[in-house]
């Protein structure tokens, strides 16, 4: 088509062409979305089951192998999906290079820490006692 009309020399001057890696982000965002389509309703149902349980009952429920595995999968998908989504939001709205880089790295670190803390807690509950 008439593609030249949309190009300016600015792209070349700033070195801001395509990174050629966007497809992977797109695909993983949707794979984790598909996982969460199934896992999110299960998670809500599990939380509702916790309502009438005391601490020991809640501990026993999460310690069940099935619950523990699905919870691990849920946590993994949640933090991966969140990190990909927040990355795009920051790319769209934060235009200062230093701030954007700091925020991007902070999001990756926090999502990893959150996921690791959840995984540790689930494993401790499932393997302990």
């Amino acid at each position: 088509m008439n593609g030249k009309q949309f190009r300016t020399p600015l792209k070349g001057a700033l070195g801001l062409g395509s990174a050629r890696q966007g497809m992977h982000h797109f695909v993983v965002q949707r794979i984790t979305a598909a996982a969460l389509f199934l896992l999110a309703p299960w998670f809500v149902w599990t939380v509702l089951r916790l309502l009438h349980l005391d601490a020991a009952g809640a501990h026993a429920l999460v310690a069940q192998p099935c619950t523990a595995v699905f919870l691990l999968a849920f946590v993994f998908a949640v933090f991966w999906h969140a990190q990909l989504g927040l990355q795009v939001v920051i790319e769209d709205y934060v235009h200062t290079r230093g701030t954007q880089m700091a925020l991007q790295i902070a999001v990756k670190f926090l999502c990893f820490l959150g996921g690791a803390a959840c995984a540790l807690a689930i494993l401790k509950i499932a393997l302990g006692r």
Binding site: Q5, L36, L51, A55, A56, A82, G85, A121, I125
Partner: protein, 131 residues
């Protein structure tokens, strides 16, 4: 800079509010809210692993009025992001782009998210009342 006249998008101020932009904005907003909500997920799981005393603290927070308001907000955010996410996945497969279909699906998602939130909290209040 390029001297030719490039096509420009109309500026934000001249847009009339419409369901197409509201669903998009809400998807981002609820996504950010849910990301913040993972803090409670982390705290709750760590508390459950730590013992009954820590778990009682989390349960007390969730039962307090501020905890209840936050949890209702997160329930709606999850319901909305989930339903609208399904709409996005369907669109990724190439369906639902006709304006009339788009508007209809936008309303299904919006009203459906409120119904799902009501359903979940009806369960919660029924159990709280019964306990």
């Amino acid at each position: 800079m390029s001297a030719n006249a490039r096509p420009l998008s109309p500026h934000i101020g001249i847009y009339r509010w419409q369901i197409q932009m509201v669903t998009s904005i809400l998807h981002r907003a609820t996504g950010i809210a849910l990301a913040a909500g993972t803090i409670l997920l982390v705290v709750a799981l760590l508390a459950l692993a730590a013992g009954p005393q820590a778990w009682a603290g989390v349960a007390a927070f969730c039962g307090s009025w501020i905890g209840t308001i936050l949890l209702i907000g997160w329930t709606w955010s999850l319901a909305y992001h989930w339903l609208n996410g399904i709409r996005h996945l369907v669109q990724d497969l190439g369906h639902g782009f006709l304006p009339a279909t788009f508007v209809r699906n936008g309303w299904i998602v919006t009203i459906g998210s409120l119904l799902l939130t009501a359903l979940v909290w009806a369960c919660v209040f029924a159990q709280r009342g019964g306990a």
